[in-house]
């Protein structure tokens, strides 16, 4: 009886210690969601789907990138005109990068040295030294309302989608030059390189298509169209990508249509549509390609999608207007 009492009394403590270990010792296998309407970041366990913590993300947190070396997270806080560095051991903001006005989407060079961010209101892209947090240069005239930013896999070039100009601009961030401009569909939102780096895919939110650009010739070589019975073409508003790690599939969120399209990368064939939530935008996939997470901007939740079943298996309430999702595993 005394033993049981001992166990019982310490059970709460053990649980608490266990919780602390789970929360602070490592951030393995977590889902991070930036909530632009509630200025915070939701941290969710990838296995149990429990919300582990909700932390301060600055004003209007949007795009995020994980830095494994320091176990920290870079978060673009659009209304604070900065990118914050958040220590994922302590959940404290430990630094910030200069970004210029209204940073929304950014990317980090493969060597981790520089970041490039799109400044939607200034029609510019800003190149930042990550170590010092200082702006190296501003590249102007990258179209109206630049949004998607992606480093090419070799780290030499940056592709930027320009929502207002319906183009993709290819810039050399190291030299600060515009190299090429490619006409795509209407309101290009985000881009993603295929795993082999041979193609750059762009979502055209209002065009309702995905443009595939050959990264050698800089030509649009294919337009992926989406059609599903019961969904009007005007509802199909593609936004974000998750490219499977085996290089075979692309998951594309289709905004107002509430669906995620599954596309084969080798032949651009749309093989399935998975039902998610209202205005499905952000997407991320686990390293084993088993779990796809998407943010539903209009219903303040995320959908967990089993990629074998190609079905949503759970939805989890997060903050207001979830924007970006990242998986650390």
């Amino acid at each position: 009886m005394r033993f049981i009492n001992f166990i019982y009394q310490n059970f709460v403590k053990l649980c608490f210690i266990g919780f602390l270990i789970a929360t602070f010792s490592s951030n393995a296998e977590t889902i991070l969601i930036s909530n632009e309407g509630s200025d915070n970041i939701t941290i969710i366990d990838l296995k149990s789907y429990e919300v582990l913590a909700t932390i301060n993300g600055g004003k209007r947190p949007r795009d995020m990138h994980y830095i494994p070396k320091s176990n920290s997270l870079l978060v673009a806080a659009s209304e604070d005109d900065t990118i914050y560095r958040i220590d994922l051991d302590t959940y404290e903001i430990t630094g910030k990068l200069e970004t210029g006005d209204d940073p929304e989407i950014f990317d980090i060079s493969p060597d981790g040295k520089i970041a490039v961010v799109s400044n939607e209101d200034d029609n510019a892209a800003t190149v930042i030294d990550i170590n010092s947090g200082k702006i190296i240069r501003v590249i102007e005239d990258v179209g109206i309302e630049p949004e998607g930013v992606n480093f090419s896999p070799d780290g030499k070039l940056v592709y930027i989608t320009s929502e207002g100009t319906n183009t993709v601009l290819i810039i050399d961030p190291w030299a600060g030059k515009v190299i090429e401009e490619i006409l795509v569909g209407n309101r290009p939102r985000r881009g993603a390189f295929t795993k082999n780096g041979q193609e750059y895919w762009v979502t055209n939110e209002l065009g309702g298509t995905v443009s595939v650009i050959d990264t050698n010739s800089y030509k649009v070589i294919h337009n992926i169209k989406f059609e599903k019975k019961g969904i009007r073409s005007t509802e199909i508003t593609p936004v974000d990508f998750a490219m499977s790690n085996d290089g075979k599939l692309a998951y594309i969120t289709l905004g107002r249509s509430k669906h995620v399209a599954v596309v084969q990368t080798e032949n651009y064939k749309v093989i399935d549509y998975i039902l998610a939530g209202s205005r499905v935008w952000g997407a991320a996939i686990s390293s084993d390609d088993k779990t796809l997470i998407v943010t539903n901007g209009n219903s303040d939740d995320i959908s967990i999608i089993d990629t074998d079943k190609r079905a949503s298996i759970k939805s989890i309430a997060v903050g207001i207007t979830p924007h970006t999702v990242r998986i650390i595993d």
Binding site: N166, T167, G208
Partner: protein, 399 residues
């Protein structure tokens, strides 16, 4: 080592990438913008001693401001359109004949496309006169229904919505809310009558009941109190909503909260259907508002939006269609693949039967967009945007 030749070489190397993108100077593409010096729609009133309309900051609200933002916004299209855009403005003086002046100005200044900001009567004269120039024009301010029906012109497109699109939007909202009994108040102007007529047609289409039609006048004459006193104007009738048509908005401001029975006010005050409102915060609209306000230090009106999107339409047509055989704006605009991004949600394009830009309508108060039409429950067999405005069956536009 000759330092001079080294410097020249370095300079040349630096210039190469610039040369690739800006190899030759693009030809100039002049867009003409025409309006009237004396236009009753832009008369200033109600500013002494305080500006009672300052909430909307509309003291100087000519839509040319939207065209100016449009010009700035289509400059980045120049790399793709291979022309250099310019806006050539001409304001018609009171002693000039507008149609004649514009006709000559187009010919003398190598104008390739025109934007028109005129009331109905002048607009009709101008479009008739310039027909033989075969130049495409966009109407950015007249909402008259006949321009999209019996009096349409093959060279005239409209980016401002028609009265019918606006009144259909209101009718959809009332129908959805089940506020079905409507009292209609009409002002003294012809445009006020046209507005009310349009609303009554919309009411009929969407199953609302007009429970009374009355005319209001400005003034304090006790002998005309049935027309200038709100208690009399809105008394002795059953209604859920009061519709008011008051183009100049001198009377309608006083109607909300002052009707005889508790009722919402719609039309020219209260809940107002508009093509654009500065309080709309979705679909990239805030970026457009921001650019406009930084440029002009005032709110962006629906006419500003209509002029802005007209400029974008020109750039979009050139970028995507100018290499087509027999390119013309008229054909490009009504091409099935023509798509325009108006920063208010769906993709926009022109109705081929009357050259009206399809678009959602913002049902707005003075500082908030309450709802967007078409409402979700109204569906059309082809395009839901065609549940508002005249479709190809109701429009009498023959050419």
């Amino acid at each position: 080592m000759n330092f001079f030749s080294l410097k020249v070489t370095i300079l040349l190397i630096c210039l190469i990438p610039i040369n690739i993108l800006y190899a030759q100077e693009n030809p100039i593409f002049n867009i003409g913008y025409y309006d009237l010096e004396e236009d009753i729609r832009y008369d200033i009133w109600g500013v002494h001693p305080v500006d009672i309309r300052s909430n909307t900051n509309q003291l100087y609200k000519r839509p040319i401001a939207g065209a100016e933002l449009g010009l700035k916004d289509i400059k980045p299209f120049q790399r793709m359109s291979k022309v250099k855009f310019d806006l050539v403005k001409r304001r018609i003086k009171p002693d000039e004949e507008a149609a004649e002046a514009i006709y000559n100005h187009i010919k003398e200044n190598d104008i390739k496309f025109i934007l028109l900001d005129f009331p109905l009567a002048e607009l009709l004269k101008i479009t008739n006169k310039i027909n033989d120039l075969d130049i495409t024009a966009i109407n950015v301010s007249s909402k008259n229904n006949n321009l999209r029906s019996s009096q349409c012109n093959k060279n005239l497109f409209h980016t401002i919505p028609s009265e019918r699109m606006l009144s259909d939007s209101l009718a959809q909202y009332l129908s959805e809310k089940k506020w079905r009994k409507i009292l209609v108040l009409t002002g003294p102007l012809k445009v006020d009558e046209a507005k009310s007529k349009s609303f009554i047609e919309s009411a009929k289409q969407f199953g609302l009941k007009i429970t009374g039609e009355r005319n209001f006048v400005l003034g304090n004459d006790p002998r005309a109190r049935d027309q200038n006193d709100l208690d009399f104007l809105t008394g002795a009738a059953k209604y859920d909503a009061v519709y008011i048509a008051d183009t100049l908005k001198e009377f309608s401001y006083r109607v909300p909260f002052a009707t005889h029975k508790p009722a919402i006010v719609i039309g020219s005050s209260g809940l107002i259907p508009r093509a654009w409102h500065w309080s709309y915060l979705r679909h990239g609209a805030p970026q457009v508002h921001g650019r406009f306000e930084r440029m002009h230090e005032r709110r962006m009106t629906e006419e500003d939006w209509a002029a802005w999107i007209a400029m974008r339409a020109v750039a979009e047509a050139l970028v995507r269609f100018q290499d087509n055989e027999n390119f013309s704006f008229r054909n490009a605009f009504i091409d099935e693949s023509f798509k325009l991004d108006g920063s208010k949600g769906p993709i926009l394009n022109f109705r081929p039967w009357n050259r009206q830009l399809r678009q959602p309508i913002m049902l707005s108060t003075e500082n908030w967009v309450t709802s967007i039409a078409p409402l979700n429950s109204f569906v059309h067999r082809e395009n839901n945007l065609d549940t508002i405005g005249m479709d190809n069956k109701t429009s009498k536009c023959a050419n």
